[in-house]
């Protein structure tokens, strides 16, 4: 309950402040509920299109390429940097306790359980959230979304559902990339200080790790993917006020989706600890 309380207060302040940018900032609580209500209705409309034909498989694949494949280098780089930092910091800390042999375990455990997923979520929300928010925002203000609706194509199906599904599918895969890059870079940093073979490093690291340490945290990023897709599509498709509005949508997509990801992580970690450990 404490987690939910903290989450609710944090979300109220952040969403009330950032979400509905065209309203005064006076009443956070009202703005929060209004924004969430509208987001919920938006998700309902999108959900309806996901389960009814026609299915836009081609567009989903295209979005998976844009969202997933093109985020790969960025995510791998962020994962690698995190691996190096973990290795450098932990090497020193473990040395003090005389537990240097635990370094591979600490790096791998920390990467696959938390650092990999959250780094992936935040990095992708930056790249993809801004992209979706700005793209759909400019489509809205230049009447392209109206044009789509006028030609009897449902924009919730063609624009929103495809992007949200692509985000949900790609986030766990990108997390794997971040984990792998992090472990490799972590080994590289550690072997430069104390030479150790990759095989030994990985063997030691994974000795105490089992599937319940790996699968739930990796698949929780599908929820991050949903948050990035839904929030950015919603912010983009409700853009008002010309180019300035497009800028606002891009910013608020990134800020809100990364913030909600971090807040949702609190609940998800608690959930995983209760049900999967």
């Amino acid at each position: 309950m404490v987690y939910f309380g903290v989450l609710l207060v944090a979300a109220t302040i952040s969403v009330g402040w950032l979400g509905p940018t065209h309203r005064p900032m006076k009443n956070y609580l009202a703005a929060f509920f209004e924004w969430f209500g509208e987001l919920g209705m938006f998700c309902g409309r999108v959900a309806k299109t996901i389960f009814t034909p026609p299915f836009e498989f081609k567009e989903i694949l295209r979005q998976m390429d844009i969202i997933g494949a093109k985020s790969f280098p960025l995510v791998a780089m962020a994962g690698a940097a995190t691996g190096v930092v973990l290795s450098l910091q932990m090497h020193d800390a473990l040395l003090r306790f005389g537990a240097k042999g635990m370094l591979p375990t600490v790096i791998i455990f920390s990467l696959i359980r938390e650092t990999g997923p959250i780094i992936t979520g935040v990095v992708v929300s930056g790249r993809v959230g801004a992209g979706i928010g700005a793209e759909l925002g400019s489509m809205k203000v230049t009447e392209q979304i109206d044009a789509m609706e006028a030609s009897a194509v449902n924009p919730y199906r063609f624009l929103a559902a495809t992007r949200i599904l692509a985000c949900i599918a790609m986030l766990p895969l990108l997390t794997l990339a971040a984990d792998a890059a992090g472990i490799l870079a972590g080994w590289l940093a550690s072997t430069l200080q104390d030479p150790v073979s990759l095989r030994l490093f990985i063997g030691r690291g994974f000795k105490t790790v089992d599937f319940s340490d790996f699968l739930p945290p990796t698949f929780k990023t599908a929820v991050f993917g949903f948050i990035i897709g839904a929030v950015s599509c919603f912010q983009g498709m409700s853009t008002e006020g010309g180019t300035e509005g497009v800028g606002r949508s891009a910013t608020s997509s990134v800020v809100l989706s990364s913030l909600i990801i971090i807040l949702a992580d609190v609940v998800l970690v608690r959930f995983i600890l209760v049900f999967f450990q």
């Binding site: 392209q144 109206d146 044009a147 030609s151 009897a152």
Partner: protein
């Protein structure tokens, strides 16, 4: 031009249509009827709600009250699927052309065809080529909308609006922001379409010269009402102060 369709059935019938945004009453009881094969110009000052009227006709916005009947079907109470069936019979040329800027010219025109017809790849390509040729844009089919001029974008927008062989065309300021020559060319395309396909059109514009040259009948809107409806000479004959002022200023 004389109205050639006086005794024909109305295709679009609007009765007592009202729409407000917040406290601002934009349309306050509009009555209009457009018959088969007719081109009606809806005139009025900027910001008077002309574009809103078009968006109401195609169901992009919902009216506060009143009725819109298209081919005998009341559209204000239809669900999305039924509305989409009506929308397939209507082509809409937006003010800024509203081409999808991530797609090429040809993909833009193919977009409605891909979704609503069962044409094969080759048939679709041929149809897109024909449509682009009919607006003089077949050379530029591989360009992106950002690589062509505003006038060319309008032509492509028109080709896309024609893709599904619509029975009704809605034009939102088709000549706005164009040089006189391009504006005339777009106008001539509208006249050509009417001749070839007997399409019923509603043209929203504030350009009285274009309206006079390319349409059969005009309706002038002010304060949310239709002030006068008729041919250009009907408007000239009117003694209403506003109509006189509008014609004078426009000239």
């Amino acid at each position: 031009m004389k109205n050639p369709a006086q005794n024909r059935q109305p295709i679009v019938m609007i009765h007592d249509l009202r729409k407000s945004f917040g406290s601002q009453q934009v349309l306050d009881g509009i009555d209009l009827a457009v018959v088969q094969g007719e081109t009606l110009a809806v005139l009025g000052r900027s910001g008077i709600g002309k574009s809103v009227l078009l968006k109401l006709i195609i169901g992009l916005q919902k009216p506060d009250s009143g009725s819109i009947v298209i081919q005998g079907q009341e559209i204000t109470c239809l669900d999305l699927n039924q509305l989409n069936e009506i929308r397939k019979k209507i082509g809409f040329l937006f003010q800024g052309a509203a081409l999808y800027d991530s797609m090429t010219v040809a993909e833009n025109v193919a977009f409605p065809l891909r979704r609503h017809t069962k044409l094969s790849e080759t048939e679709r390509k041929e149809r897109v080529r024909d449509l682009l040729a009919s607006v003089g844009m077949e050379e530029d089919h591989q360009k992106l909308p950002s690589q062509i001029s505003g006038g060319m974008q309008k032509r492509v927008g028109l080709a896309r609006a024609l893709a599904l062989d619509p029975e009704i065309l809605l034009f939102d300021e088709p000549t706005a922001g164009l040089d006189p020559i391009t504006a005339t060319e777009i106008g001539e395309l509208i006249v050509e379409l009417k001749k070839q396909r007997s399409i019923t059109s509603v043209v929203v514009t504030h350009d009285i010269h274009a309206a006079r040259a390319f349409t059969d009948r005009m309706a002038l809107i002010d304060n949310g009402h239709v002030v006068i409806e008729g041919t250009f000479s009907d408007l000239q004959k009117s003694r209403d102060q506003f109509i006189h002022r509008f014609l004078r200023e426009a000239a």
